[in-house]
Symmetry: C2
DNA sequence: CCACATAATACTCATTTCGAGTATATATGT
DNA sequence: ACATATATACTCGAAATGAGTATTATGTGG
C-alpha cells in the first residue's frame, strides 16, 4: 500500500430564499470561478465532522449555521486536486438559513445561475429543446457500441424526457458533465471546449455538490418541514408557497397548497395581517413546531399542478 | 493547525434476504465483536471511493458487489479509533446482493440480531414496553434541566411512541446509544454497563452504519425497485412480499400488495409455476427492467395494513 | 372420487387524497 | 360605486388506498 496522504475537505452549500429566488452563498476569489465555502477538517481540534464545518464556516463567513445535513462524500481523482498534490476527499453539507449579512468575499447568488435548466416555474426552459436535447442526441450517437448507446438513450430519457422529475438534479448534471456540456468537464480533462457551455461553472466539484444539495432539498421538502428553516418567523401562505416553488422549480396550485398545509397542521394563524399595496390583506402564519411531535413524517407535499395558471 | 493525519476507512453493509430473513455479511474475528467488512481507502491506487470499496471487498470476501450506494461519512472522535492512533473517518456503504457463498471468516447473520426492536412482523416486540420505554422514561427524567427533559421526551415519542415509522432506524439506535441501552455506549465511554444491553453489539461504529443502511433501504423500497436486487431471477409474488416485509419489518396486505406491484408494471409473469407442498401453485414472475425507462420513480409502495391478518 | 385444507388470484366497496376548478370575501384606487 | 387584485372557501370528479369477500387451483385423507 502506498503512503500517499489524504486530506478531508468540508464544503457547505448554504442555502437561503429571498422572495422568489433560491440562493446559495458563494466565495468569489478574484478571477477564479465561484466556490462554495470550503475548508479543511482538522482532526486534532474537532470531535465531529459537523463541528469542524460549523467552526470554520463561522470564521470564514460569520455565519451561524442552523439546520445542517451531510450530503455526500466525493473522492474522485481529478475532480478536486489540492495544490500540494495530496488527494482531497470532500464531504459536502447542506445548510439552511434565513438570509443575513454576508462576510466580505462572499455573496448570495441565485442557484439557477448554475442550473438554468432546472427552473420550470415560468415554462420549460427553452435551452432544453434548443441546446440540451440536440447535444445529448449527439452524445447518444457517439457511444462506442450498441449497448452503450441504449444505456445513454435511457439516461437521457429519464433525465430530460417525458415527465420532469424535479428531484433528479444530480443525475442531470452528471449527464451533462459526461456529455461535455458543462465547462467543468473540459477543465477537468485539460482540453478546451468547442461546444455549448451551460450555466455558470464553479470551482473544483462544487457544482456537483450544489446539485446534490438541491436534489436532497427538493426531495426532503415533501416529507419533512424543512422550508420553515428558510422562512421569517411569520409569513403569509403565498410567501410560503413562493419559497417552495422557488426551491422545487415548479409552480403549485394555490388553493390546494393552502389546503395541504392547513390540513397537516403545519402552520397556525397569528391573527395579524400584512398590508399589501393592492388586494386583500393576507393573514400571517407561523410554523407549528409541535407537529414534529404529533405527526410521524410531516412535510409540505407539493400538490403539483398539471395545467393553466394559479 | 495540527499535523495529525487522517485515514479513510470504507465499511460496507452487504445485505441479502434468505426467505424471510434479512441478513448482513459480518466478519467474525475470534473473540471480538461482529464487524462489517472494513478496509482502508488507498488514494494512490483508486480513482474513486467506490472502486476502492469494490476492490477490497472482492479480495476480502470474494464478493462481487452489485448495487451499491454511499450511506454516510462518520468522523466522530471516540467511536472509531485506529490502532496507530490516527483519526479514522469512515465512509459507510450499502450493497445489495443475492446471497451466495461467503468467504472464510465471514458469515451471514440476520440483522434483527442487532436490532431486535425493529421487527414488527409478528407483533410489537415485547421488549419495547417491558424494557425500552421504562429505561427511556428514566433517561427523560435524568435530563439536566427542563428544556433537555422536553427535548428528550419528544425524541422518545417520535422514536418509540404512537405510530411506528419503520424508517427511523438510525434515530432509534442513536437514542438508545445516548440513553446507555446499547453496549457500544459503555465501551466507547470506557465504563461498565450495569443496566440492560439491547441487541448484539458490533465493532467500532458498525452498528450505527448498519442502522443507517437499514433506514436507507427501508426508505428506498418505497420509491425505487431495489428489492429486485435481492431476489432470484424468478420468484412468486408471495416470495417478493415476504422479502419486502422482512426488510421493512412489517406485514403487508397481500391482495393490495399484488395489485400495486402489478399495476405499476414492475413484474411480468413467466407462464411457469412453482410446485408447493400444499395449496395452489403460484406463478413465477420476473422483474421488468424496462420500468426503469417507463416510469419516472417506480418503487414498491408498501400498502401497509392497519388491522387483522393477511 | 369427494370433501377439506391451503394457498393463489380476482373482484368489490367505502374512504381518502388529489388535481382542478368556481365562488366569495376584503382590500385599494378612481 | 365599481374595477381590480388578492386571499380564502367550497365543490366535484378521478384516482389511490385500505380492508375485505369471492373464486380458483392444488394436494391429501377418507
Amino acid at each position: 500500500m502506498s503512503k500517499e496522504t489524504v486530506s478531508i475537505g468540508l464544503s457547505a452549500a448554504i442555502v437561503a430564499v429571498e422572495g422568489e429566488r433560491p440562493s446559495v452563498l458563494v466565495v468569489a476569489y478574484d478571477g477564479a470561478a465561484d466556490a462554495l465555502p470550503f475548508g479543511p477538517f482538522d482532526p486534532a481540534q474537532q470531535r465531529t465532522l459537523e463541528s469542524g464545518l460549523r467552526k470554520w464556516v463561522g470564521e470564514q463567513t460569520r455565519f451561524d449555521l442552523g439546520y445542517t445535513e451531510q450530503l455526500y462524500t466525493f473522492g474522485d481523482k481529478g475532480r478536486h486536486e489540492s495544490a500540494a498534490g495530496t488527494r482531497v476527499v470532500s464531504v459536502g453539507y447542506l445548510a439552511l438559513t434565513r438570509q443575513g449579512k454576508e462576510a466580505p468575499e462572499t455573496a448570495w447568488r441565485g442557484w439557477y445561475h448554475y442550473f438554468p435548466w432546472e427552473d420550470w416555474r415560468d415554462s420549460k426552459p427553452a435551452m432544453i429543446d434548443s441546446t440540451i436535447l440536440p447535444a445529448l442526441k449527439k452524445f447518444v450517437n457517439d457511444a462506442p457500441n450498441a449497448e452503450a448507446t441504449e444505456l445513454r438513450r435511457e439516461r437521457v430519457n429519464v433525465c430530460f424526457g417525458e415527465g420532469w422529475d424535479e428531484e433528479r438534479v444530480l443525475e442531470r448534471y452528471e449527464l451533462l458533465y459526461e456529455a461535455g456540456l458543462v465547462e467543468e468537464f473540459w477543465r477537468d480533462s485539460g482540453r478546451t471546449n468547442k461546444g455549448p457551455s451551460l450555466g455558470t461553472p464553479m470551482l473544483f466539484d462544487h457544482r456537483r455538490i450544489l446539485a446534490t444539495a438541491i436534489a436532497r432539498l427538493r426531495g426532503k421538502l415533501k416529507y419533512r418541514p424543512v422550508v420553515f428553516e428558510l422562512m421569517a418567523p411569520t409569513f403569509t401562505l403565498l410567501e410560503l408557497q413562493r419559497a417552495v416553488e422557488a426551491l422545487a422549480g415548479l409552480r403549485l396550485h394555490k388553493q390546494n397548497f393552502r389546503r395541504l398545509v392547513a390540513e397537516q397542521g403545519l402552520v397556525e394563524g397569528t391573527g395579524k395581517f400584512n398590508a399589501p399595496d393592492r388586494g386583500r390583506p393576507a393573514e400571517l402564519f407561523r410554523f407549528r413546531r409541535v407537529v414534529l411531535r404529533e405527526r410521524p413524517a410531516p412535510g409540505v407535499r407539493l400538490g403539483v399542478r398539471r395545467s393553466k395558471a394559479s
